[in-house]
């Protein structure tokens, strides 16, 4: 029993440290301006004035940036599933590329994103994709591809291939087999990959910063620009951080059962 109390104690301390940043930023976002600048840690009353100021700031379309994030994250998630699924199927069933291709794809994920930034910036500049939704969506599809392919491949490899073989003998076409047999059976994997892709796209910052300026900027860019644009308005910065942080957290809470396997690139089998 004593041992159990110690364990609970340690867990609760850990939890407190873990949640402290969230608590602090939430607290700041509800503090009135006067109390923030006078250094009061625990305010006498809470206010939603900061949120109001962020969402309706004149000349700063925060709501639009939020919409941009939603559109870009959803479409890039959909796109990377559509592109990666056939590739994963091909690698799992036809052994395309053998083991070498997997290692190459894995190593793409290890390269620093920044080394692609400048060439993509110049490419986009010359074909007019700068500051467009589609430009950012295409980039995110590519950066989500390696993880999607590897995780989906590991899911498809675990499906028994007898069903597909039987369907083939019965005269089913290859495309029909994929659409009506493999795709539905891979759904848990697709769910896991979608979550990760959505989170990765929502949370991406570097390319959003470089490739967009006004029209297609995401909510993270907006939140970080708030820091420079309104250097002193801590409450509003905190509120904008809260707004950009909450959707992915809520989303993760709703779907976290499917998450872990994707996090480990499919290395962990159930």
């Amino acid at each position: 029993m004593k041992r159990r109390i110690v364990i609970w104690f340690v867990i609760i301390i850990m939890m407190a440290i873990l949640l402290l940043p969230m608590f602090f930023i939430a607290l700041t976002s509800f503090k009135a301006y006067g109390e923030i600048v006078s250094g009061i840690m625990f305010p006498s009353q809470l206010t939603i004035e900061n949120y109001f100021n962020v969402l309706y700031a004149p000349g700063f379309r925060f709501v639009d940036f939020l919409l941009n994030s939603i559109i870009i994250s959803s479409l890039s998630t959909l796109g990377s599933i559509l592109v990666s699924f056939p590739a994963a199927y091909s690698m799992a069933r036809f052994k395309t590329g053998g083991g070498t291709l997997s290692s190459y794809i894995f190593s793409i994920r290890l390269l620093p994103p920044i080394i692609f930034a400048l060439p993509i910036f110049i490419l986009y500049q010359s074909i007019g994709l700068l500051d467009t939704h589609i430009g950012l969506i295409l980039t995110y599809i590519v950066f989500n591809l390696p993880l999607s392919i590897l995780v989906l491949k590991s899911f498809i490899e675990e499906l028994p291939s007898e069903i597909e073989e039987a369907a083939l003998i019965d005269g089913c076409s290859q495309l029909k087999i994929i659409a009506s047999i493999v795709f539905p059976l891979t759904m848990p994997g697709i769910a896991a990959v979608s979550i990760l892709n959505f989170l990765a796209s929502w949370n991406e910052y570097l390319f959003a910063l470089i490739l967009t300026f006004k029209k297609a900027a995401t909510v993270n860019v907006a939140a970080s620009l708030f820091v420079t644009a309104y250097a002193i308005r801590y409450g509003e910065i905190a509120a904008s951080v809260m707004i950009s942080m909450l959707p992915p957290i809520v989303f993760m809470f709703l779907v976290q059962r499917n998450l872990v396997r994707g996090l480990t690139l499919g290395a962990l089998r159930r």
Binding site: I114, I115, N203, V241, L263, T264, L268
Partner: protein, 291 residues
């Protein structure tokens, strides 16, 4: 369809070629050219290896390599140890432990740049003091006059703390899943043989986790090696160059000064450095196994 697999892999190939291979080829070509986009829209002439030699003689590059490694290696190690500890702690069947597991995963959903902004706030010193100096002062630990992120000695630690907060749960959750995937037959056999809790962990669970740890470690290490978001949000590479990582230096050369040739050469220096590090790592961690 004669060769269906080619048809299936084609879309991925096109995407990866245009946005991954093209930039690398682009960089290779322009790394031998002099080109500053701020002064000219066309490359300004072939200059051989000059860009590479400039970089190798530039003290900022050496500094950035040291900063990057000083940041990435200890941070990932600490995260692995903490994460493993938490995973072992949570790997039991109490009532209500599911809620703790669910809460533990939260930081993984926070964008690195947002984590950076939050910690910049928490470290802030001055008007409206941040909570970290506040707590440190209460327990009697002094902080540098310019704040933790404003001091050459401590700025990197500040960024490391941010990363540890953001990534330790990632280790904990993945390793926990690994611990729970140990086959029951193995655990039962160990118990029948009279192994203690520690012995089971050391000789049954830990070997089972080896490959998973190796993969998670390299993913995280590379994330930290490539760190950009937290640096941008917290210190912008400063004070001085105390937190200028390779990624941040490359950002600065390429997208602020528009030195295309020089940053193209830096791209390839970083790529070569990474290939060396990753190859050595794989040799030791996987001993030739397939991923």
């Amino acid at each position: 369809m004669k060769r269906p697999y080619l048809f299936f892999i084609f879309p991925s190939f096109i995407f990866l070629f245009i946005l991954i291979a093209y930039p690398l080829i682009f960089s290779l070509y322009y790394s031998f050219q002099f080109w500053n986009l701020a002064t000219s829209h066309e490359p300004q002439g072939f200059i051989g290896l000059t860009n590479y030699l400039t970089l190798l003689n530039d003290p900022r590059v050496l500094n950035a390599i040291i900063v990057t490694i000083m940041l990435a290696v200890p941070t990932t190690m600490i995260e692995l140890l903490l994460g493993l500890g938490i995973a072992v702690l949570l790997d039991r069947d109490f009532k209500g432990i599911g809620i703790f597991r669910a809460i533990f995963i939260i930081p993984t959903a926070v964008a690195p740049v947002i984590a950076g902004l939050i910690f910049r706030f928490m470290f802030y010193q001055g008007l409206g003091t941040g909570i970290i100096p506040y707590i440190l002062h209460i327990i009697g630990i002094g902080t540098p006059e310019r704040g933790i992120l404003g001091d050459q000695q401590t700025a990197l630690i500040g960024i490391a703390v941010t990363m540890i907060w953001r990534w330790t749960p990632f280790f904990a959750i993945t390793l926990l899943a690994g611990l729970q995937s140990v086959p029951n037959e193995l655990l039962d056999a160990a118990k029948v043989d009279g192994a203690s809790r520690y012995q089971i962990f050391r000789h049954v669970k830990l070997p089972h986790l080896r490959k998973l740890i190796a993969i998670v470690f390299i993913i995280c290490f590379m994330m930290h090696f490539n760190a950009y978001d937290e640096v941008f949000a917290e210190t912008r590479g400063g004070p001085g160059e105390a937190t200028t990582t390779l990624s941040y230096l490359l950002y600065w050369e390429g997208l602020v000064y528009y030195n295309i040739g020089l940053s193209a050469a830096m791209t390839w220096l970083i790529a070569i450095l990474l290939i060396i590090i990753v190859n050595i790592y794989f040799k030791f961690a996987f001993k030739g196994e397939k991923i």
